[in-house]
């Protein structure tokens, strides 16, 4: 079985390399048969990665400890569920997962291309009158994009057959595997890596389409196809962003409930590795709209999509190597060189391509006014990319100083917190402002109509908060910012529903439903902005107003934290449910407030048969206003036990905001009802007309407020 997996990887490498060449040659020569063969190669590559992945899964579940990877991450006693998740617990396996997803995406892209081609006829892209220009562009771009995706696969195949071999055998076969680290035995740890990788890998698709558009040259129809890459990849980009968001949020949740330090974000390099591409990806989602609607920021979008892709590769490297984990450890040097080589190759290649094709990425028109959606998007992009840069710089700072100064200097959470505070606040306020500022040119009157109420609401809130001595001031500013965004979004839903109810004679609820489902992108986007405000509330509340106490208690004694009293009742032990062989010691503790008992919690220590150190399982009394977070730190002489108790205000709003973010993004991604889609298609055709002719004035009559997103 390991030989089969290994063989599948070698075959995959050859087939993937072949498909790159076949697609490149076939597309350049315009030879349909060679392209068809390359297409077969793409699908065959997916088959081989699937075979390799199933081999590894099989070995993990079966527990073939002659394979090094299996011995390291699986064990006999592990529940099958976690045996499967051991697939991505280590370096080799997670690189295989990356590759598997990438080849699946490449196959999806090439199939979409084939479908589009058969709908268009023999590549007749000029015939935009009969087929939708989008379909025609898809037919032209998809096979090209698939070629680029396959080229990326070649890199990962190379890693998997040279430096990170998942199927390598051990010289001595151990009796049992080491098993998963207990910290990873959490349902969150099953979702988190997969979601993060779905996001990471997903950004490769828009990148590949961007390159495809850039390499089209001057063949007939190239102009239209080039203008379409942003639109064609909108769903890919948005889904990748959604998965990455889910990955980050589940990671935070896991850290909060599992790591037992009461926080959810530590500015750890591994966390930063997922945040940085998320920030640039967020910028891309916004700036892509500028290109889609107005033909602006083409060069910027190309840079952003490239940067985001590079950052996902960088993030994969960071999380799966030792480069930042310890002082003076250079980690897996060979792996590092491979990644560095690949990153440099992509940078040089893309920059070269951009220089060669710079004429094709000039903007269709300049930005028209200072107060417009264009400039507000530009500002949000600058801030998001600036934040990404700050986090990136802090993350690689030890590596930079190690190489330049010969000694390692790190920056702590203080650095990130100080910087992310002003940037985060500015981004929050923009999340309220941006959606409602009109394209092209906004008037003061437009601003007043849209923002007077939210602005006054935020001001009143801030004033009251300050009068009631809520401190620090920046926290009040953050909450007021969230109020501003919240009121803006709610008002926009209400206003839209009222207008529609009046004009269509519908009841307001039905009007709201129709309004939103016919403008999914717009209202989905509003929901995501609202979710950002909720998350900001949660982050502000929990980081500013957290209180904690640590004390050693005897049974019957209690400790006070904030308004809460935690009483230690008794200590007991049992075999952990669902986990034979694991013994847990738990302390029954009653949580009360003003003399009224709210709950009895059982924080624990778990003792694993093959590990020296116990693991801590915290107990949390969750609530909308605050979480009471109880840690059993250890047992002392007799029945005495040490407890650390934290009251974390408003944490729940991070998770609620997270759910809303997922819902909002999903809402925006869901296919639009037909009638509305036709309208969008009209917009697209107009834009193509503009892109094609170059001289047609901007779509008339859509200047103020009409078309916010």
């Amino acid at each position: 079985m390991p030989e089969l997996g290994s063989l599948a990887l070698y075959v995959g490498l050859v087939v993937a390399a072949y498909s790159v060449v076949a697609l490149a040659v076939g597309l350049t020569a315009g030879n349909g048969r060679i392209v068809g063969s390359g297409r077969g190669g793409v699908i065959a590559t997916l088959l081989s990665t699937t075979l390799a992945s199933f081999s590894l899964l099989y070995l993990l579940v079966k527990g073939d400890f002659s394979v090094g990877y299996v011995a390291e991450y699986s064990s006999r006693g592990l529940p099958w569920f976690y045996k499967l998740s051991a697939f991505w617990a280590g370096q080799a396996g997670s690189l295989l997962l990356w590759l598997w997803l990438l080849t699946a995406y490449a196959t999806a892209v090439i199939i979409a291309g084939t479908r589009a081609a058969s709908a268009t006829g023999a590549g007749a892209i000029g015939a935009a009158g009969r087929t939708r220009p989008e379909t025609a562009a898809q037919a032209v771009l998809a096979p090209r994009a698939a070629a680029f995706l396959q080229a990326i696969s070649v890199f990962f195949f190379t890693l998997l057959v040279t430096v990170a071999k998942p199927f390598a055998r051990l010289a001595e076969v151990p009796a049992d595997g080491q098993g998963l680290n207990p910290l990873l035995e959490n349902p969150g740890m099953v979702i988190h890596p997969v979601a993060t990788y779905l996001g990471y890998v997903g950004f490769a698709v828009p990148f590949a389409f961007a390159l495809a558009a850039l390499t089209l040259g001057t063949r007939p129809g190239a102009e239209i196809a080039r203008a379409a890459w942003v639109r064609l990849t909108r769903k890919w980009t948005l889904s990748a962003w959604l998965f990455l968001s889910i990955g980050i949020l589940t990671g935070m949740q896991w850290a909060y409930v599992e790591l037992g330090w009461g926080g959810y974000w530590a500015w750890d390099p591994v966390e930063n590795a997922s945040l940085i591409p998320w920030l640039t990806g967020t910028a891309l989602i916004h700036s892509a709209m500028m290109q889609e609607r107005k033909g602006l920021l083409k060069f910027w979008n190309l840079s952003l999509v490239t940067a985001t892709f590079l950052l996902t590769i960088f993030g994969t490297y960071l999380t799966r190597s030792d480069v930042l984990s310890s002082v003076h450890a250079f980690g897996d040097r060979q792996m590092g060189l491979y990644f560095l080589g690949f990153l440099s190759f992509v940078v040089v290649g893309t920059v070269g391509l951009v220089i060669a094709r710079r004429g094709q990425i000039a903007d269709d028109r300049p930005i028209e006014a200072y107060i417009s959606k264009e400039t507000s998007f530009l500002t949000n992009n600058v801030l998001l990319v600036g934040t990404a840069f700050v986090v990136f710089w802090g993350t690689i700072f030890p590596v930079v100083t190690r190489n330049l100064l010969g000694r390692e200097v790190a920056v702590g959470p203080g650095f990130y917190n100080r910087l992310s505070l002003p940037l985060g606040l500015a981004i929050l306020v923009l999340a309220g402002l941006c959606p409602l500022i009109a394209w092209r040119r906004s008037s003061l009157r437009n601003l007043r109509d849209n923002f007077l109420v939210p602005f006054v609401a935020a001001l009143v809130f801030a004033g009251l908060a300050l009068i009631f001595k809520v401190r620090p001031v920046w926290a009040v500013v953050a909450f007021a910012g969230a109020v501003f965004v919240g009121v803006t979004v709610v008002l926009e839903f209400a206003r839209g529903a009222m207008v529609r109810a009046r004009s269509h004679g519908e009841n307001p609820v039905a009007a709201l439903g129709r309004l939103t489902t016919r403008n999914r992108r717009r209202y989905g986007g509003y929901l995501v902005h609202l979710s950002v405000a909720l998350i900001a509330v949660g982050i502000t509340g929990s980081s500013v107003y957290k209180v904690e106490a640590t004390q050693t208690l005897n049974p019957g004694q209690s400790l006070n934290v904030g308004a809460y009293t935690v009483t230690y009742q008794k200590l007991d032990m049992r075999e952990a449910p669902n986990h034979p062989g694991v013994v847990e010691v738990f302390a029954e503790t009653a949580v009360s407030r003003n003399g009224r008992q709210l709950a009895v919690l059982a924080p624990k220590k778990q003792f694993y048969p093959n590990r020296e150190e116990p693991g801590t399982e915290v107990a949390i009394l969750g609530g909308l206003a605050r979480d009471v977070y109880v840690i059993l730190a250890g047992r002392d002489e007799g029945m005495a036990a040490t407890f650390k108790v934290m009251v974390n205000p408003l944490v729940a709003w991070i998770w609620i905001g997270g759910f809303l973010l997922v819902f909002g993004t999903g809402f925006a991604l869901w296919p639009q009802a037909r009638q509305a889609a036709a309208t969008e298609y009209g917009t697209l055709r107009r834009n193509f007309a503009v892109a094609g002719a170059g001289a047609v004035p901007a779509a008339a009559g859509r200047s103020v407020g009409g078309d916010a997103r």
Binding site: Y73, G386, T552, E612, T642
Partner: protein, 136 residues
């Protein structure tokens, strides 16, 4: 001055402000990242400066005072002739502090020669790939 230039200036201003924040942020929160051997070698010059120190936990030295909530332990550096630093941490013991595990501590060296720990980072072996044998 046309619009394009002005917008470019606006963007540049934001970036300069950001650069300033980054620069001062680094200056204020930069901490040296040292091994136990290095901090010992630097001696008194490191007293009172905020540093991160990495070393191996000596499990036998680990002591816990439940009434005062104080955890004391030694980190050693086998690569530097077994030099050691005694650390004092006012807080609870994090998971994974096994004998011989690589630990990173953040804090300051006091003039008594012990290390006042603000933060303990236990390296999670599954989060990062383990060093291959003899890889250092």
């Amino acid at each position: 001055m046309n619009k394009r230039t002005r917008i470019a200036i606006g963007v540049a201003v934001i970036f300069v402000a950001l650069g300033y924040l980054v620069f001062t942020g680094v200056a204020r929160s930069a901490t040296y990242y040292l091994t136990v051997g290095e901090i010992k070698a630097k001696g008194a010059s490191m007293i009172g400066r905020s540093v991160r120190v990495t070393g191996k936990l000596d499990g036998a030295s680990l002591k816990w005072d439940p009434t005062k909530i104080v955890l004391t332990f030694d980190l050693t550096d086998p690569a530097a002739g077994g030099s050691r630093v005694s650390a004092v941490y006012h807080g609870i013991r994090p998971d994974g502090m096994d004998d011989g595990r690589d630990i990173v501590i953040e804090g300051k060296l006091t003039d008594q020669g012990s290390f006042d720990v603000k933060n303990i980072l236990v390296k999670c072996p599954s989060k990062y790939e383990a060093q291959p044998a003899g890889g250092k």
